[in-house]
Symmetry: C2
DNA sequence: GCTTCCCATTTTGGATACAATATACAATCA
DNA sequence: TGATTGTATATTGTATCCAAAATGGGAAGC
């Protein structure tokens, strides 16, 4: 077999593509909270019928990114300070354990990739990349844990607060501190100090939560 | 207003009703793992078109209760020992913290309801009720935590392993031990010992996990 | 007999059409 | 004028129909 083959059945369905596009728009903040999402409009924009659009919207609702009411349509979900706080607490519970279990299985490639994220993070030109790199840094390290279920839950939790994290990175010292803490975490991982990495991760999250609470405005 | 009114808009849609029915059938074990779910059959059974059925199936897939492949249909999801173990670990991480935070807010009514679950659990005639009562016992206590997001995640995790928990309760000493541990947990809650309740909950879960591993067969 | 290919059937994905419900505005009456 | 009711429009929920893909079985070839 000479050609680069891949499983065609894994090719995204229309619904998946729409889901990804809207999800991206929400977590980057392009779609503000409360923004209504009309099936017909979206269908026209993607040149499909409303059926796959409805599938995408349903998936988005399951992820907590939108809220929809029967016969009334869907809007981009908002987030109260209380809800945001709870999601940070959720992360603070899971992520330390995940990284603790991941450290012993981190390959040099993984550590290198994490370091690359840090570097790119440090001298990224576009602030919009910060959010992506931050996300990639964490998921790269966590992947080694092999805890697929935990990671799935974490990803959804991250999606939920992503727009707020991006806003926070734009604060005066938000990005610097995140970068500093990332470097400490990856150092702990490199030296195999699982518990230290877990503790740093926990503080990284709680620090972000505290910063978010302080600058909350809605 | 003289007539007994209620919010009609809260009436479930066809898709929701179908989702609930199939979910129930899966977590009680009526639908065994690997069982195929054909849209046409389900639609006929509920006397609706395939559209709401498809929505229900999508929701079930997002809950992890079924797995579906493009153009190939859906089957009831199976669970490997590794996946089951991870879900127990997930619960063991969340539930102790949830109950710890719930204890200070437990009203007498909540404690009474939990006690009622224990009593009913103790002398239930139908083993099929055990699973329901077990579920209700935990959710009752946890509800006081106010951690809506955590509870939502936990509910999905519980759904995933529910059929296996029910099977385990049927084991010789499964139900007795569960009942004993439930009583200890509710006692700790009554006396306001949050940390003790958390620890008992953790051991309750890890014990169940260990029992499941021992009797695993597939 | 075994394999391979082709085609018919089954089943799912998606488009179009229609029904049910919400929302906004006009019309009516006190 | 103000409230209330009828009506039109917009939007979502569902049914029906068609297209695309998978599955299974039989015929042709070795």
């Amino acid at each position: 077999m000479k050609i680069q083959a891949y499983d065609i059945s894994k090719t995204a369905s229309a619904a998946t593509l729409i889901f990804d596009a809207i999800r991206q728009a929400i977590i980057t903040g392009d779609l503000a909270q409360g923004e209504p999402l009309r099936q017909e409009d979206i269908a026209r924009a993607f040149n499909v019928s409303r059926i796959p659009v409805r599938e995408a919207l349903q998936k988005l609702e399951q992820h907590g990114l939108i809220v929809s009411q029967r016969y009334k349509g869907a809007v981009v979900a908002g987030l109260s300070l209380e809800e945001a706080t709870e999601i940070f607490e959720f992360r603070a519970l899971l992520e330390p354990e995940v990284i603790r279990r991941a450290v012993p299985h981190m390959s040099p490639q993984v550590l290198q990739e994490a370091a690359r994220c840090c570097a790119a993070f440090g001298n990224a030109e576009d602030p919009m990349q910060w959010g992506d790199l931050n996300r990639r840094f964490h998921t790269t390290l966590y992947a080694a844990s092999g805890l697929a279920y935990h990671l799935e839950m974490l990803n959804k939790a991250m999606d939920r607060i992503d727009p707020y994290l991006r806003a926070q990175l734009l604060l005066s010292d938000g990005m610097q501190r995140a970068n500093r803490e990332h470097l400490m975490i990856v150092d702990a991982c490199k030296s195999g100090q699982a518990d230290k990495a877990a503790d740093l991760t926990r503080q990284h999250i709680l620090g972000a939560q505290e910063s978010l609470s302080r600058h909350w405005q809605k």
